[in-house]
């Protein structure tokens, strides 16, 4: 891993020096043993570049900041989660005009450079499925009332800081649903109804689009296991409609297409 880090750092430095990219977006050591995003414009800035299991912030989220885009063509140190987000953003035509270069590590720790969605998809296919980052809770074993109690307990802590939204590359709406007040469809205050409606709405808006990077769960200051909700819907959608977000650039948004033979068992 140390070797891979060195190679990565050298390559990033070369890319900056040669002007191939104007900016390297990566991770650096932060405080209290955490990492934080790095926006390196000079090679000296890359001294602190790291990539390890602490890198749960999804750097793809910075591609939606005009201030970052204005810095020029970026090279992005990309974990597989970041790459999945890029594929999904490309599938949604949300990367138009931007052609970042991605620095990733393959299974044997070699540094690979990726530019096109096809290269990214091939790289991801070679890496195989990512190991789950967060502990899971056995909700299947609970009855309905217990599940309701579980989630009410979790949402009770929600303070509506929107760290989940802010850290999600797929939440790129200029005006979020909750920021519309004609009508105020989702209540603003962090009471029980507001929190429930917010998390349901967000889960529905991410259904079929979430690549399960885990950034939302890592970002949540109160530790709500949002990954469980998004994972449940990602599994359901793959089972019922096929396809999974973050695997291909040719993915249709599952809720805007349909098949005449979609199968369910609850409509009488």
């Amino acid at each position: 891993m140390i070797q891979a880090m060195e190679t990565l750092r050298k390559r990033a430095q070369e890319l900056l020096e040669t002007g191939t990219v104007q900016l390297i977006i990566g991770y650096a050591e932060g405080s209290n043993g955490r990492v934080r995003p790095l926006f390196a414009r000079r090679t000296e800035d890359l001294e602190n570049l790291v990539i390890d299991e602490r890198c749960s912030l999804n750097l793809a989220v910075y591609l939606r900041k005009p201030e970052v885009r204005a810095l020029g063509k970026p090279g992005i140190v990309a974990t597989s989660a970041v790459l999945r987000s890029i594929l999904q953003l490309a599938a949604e035509n949300h990367l138009n005009g931007l052609e970042p270069l991605y620095l990733a590590l393959d299974g044997s720790g070699e540094v690979v450079e990726l530019t096109t969605p096809d290269q990214i998809a091939a790289h991801l296919a070679k890496l195989g499925p990512a190991a789950p980052q967060f502990s899971t809770v056995d909700l299947e074993g609970m009855d309905r009332a217990a599940r309701f109690g579980f989630w009410q307990n979790e949402f009770d802590r929600c303070i509506r800081c929107y760290a989940c939204r802010a850290s999600c590359p797929m939440c790129y709406c200029d005006q979020c649903l909750v920021e519309c007040n004609q009508p105020q469809w989702i209540p603003v205050p962090a009471h029980a109804v507001g929190n429930l409606e917010w998390h349901i709405s967000r889960a529905m808006h991410l259904a079929g689009r979430c690549v399960e990077c885990g950034a939302c769960t890592a970002a949540c200051p109160v530790g709500i296991p949002l990954n469980l909700i998004n994972h449940h819907l990602a599994d359901l959608i793959e089972k019922k409609f096929g396809g999974r977000a973050g695997t291909s650039v040719n993915l249709d948004y599952p809720l805007s297409v349909f098949r005449a033979d979609d199968r369910e068992d609850f409509i009488k």
Binding site: G30, S31, N32, R36, Y162, P189, A190
Partner: protein, 355 residues
Amino acid sequence: MTETKLLRKESLGPLLQRLRQGGRRIVAPCQAGQTNTVWFREVDGDEQIDLERFTVASAKSVVFPIVEEILKFKTIGRQVTIQNGTPRVESTVVVGLRPCDARGLEVLDAVFLGEPQDLFFRKRREATTLITLSCSKADENCFCTSVGGGPGDTRGSDLLLTPVQDDRFLVEVLTPKGAQIVEVGAELFEAVEADATQVPNKERFLASVPVRFSLSDVEAKLPRLFDREEFWHEQSLACLGCSTCAFVCPACSCFDIQDEGALHGGRRLRCWDSCGQKLFTLHASGHNPRSIQSQRWRQRIMHKFSYLPDRSRITPDAAGRPGVFGCVGCGRCSRACPAGMNIIERLTAIAEAEL
């Protein structure tokens, strides 16, 4: 004149139990659910109070709730009845907050107890007693000493407990409210021996929190840094514009008013808000004077380190204190920020900026 006593650590539980029996609500840090985080929660006695780790958020929700109802209305025919809310105030003791938290409440005082006074805040504040815990440990995000505070600062507290030798707390009784607590505890508190050698030296037990930057330099330079767009741009590149820092901060007080209901009835609620959000300054016309994150980040810093101290010098707060800064150096914003924004670094850059 501050009275000093000693309290065995094992007597804290019984003290809280007595306070509970006397009708007081106890709020203390404890673990939240299955997460590895610590929160201020109302405790019934069965929960494990955690006095070791820092809480993720401040204790301000005790006096400034995250959602509170300030009025309700009912319409029958053409008749509208409005009922003004009053805070359902319970006598509350917050135990285990830190000196920075207590000072944070003083910052809220400067905002809510000026003219006009916020009735809801005042009633809750009057009904709340603070048993603060000095810090024997600090981490690299702490900077209370850089903003005029300290790990054993007594300002704003009613009782200050400092863990000293022999499994005891040194108890400083700072206010009449604090004295009342001691009265309830009665024999649980031990007198400090008249012999000076028995008095624990508080300083020995406090964490070392080095001063990180010059606050006066920060305040002096800020007005002249206002127009440096590039400077604020760089500082806020990582910022994702969520509300986490504002919500965990002991000194942030911005709020929104939301009306909910329909023609036949409804309620008006006050809830927390954050200047980091784009919507915060969006005008009905569509114009937004702080349309980019760097402007919002600048606002956060200027408000806390320039506007608030400026304004409070012109109009001292209810207690007559001038020059209140909107930051107590607790470091919660840095710890909770999903994008790893580090406020000490930002303030140091300001203090050391070349003009």
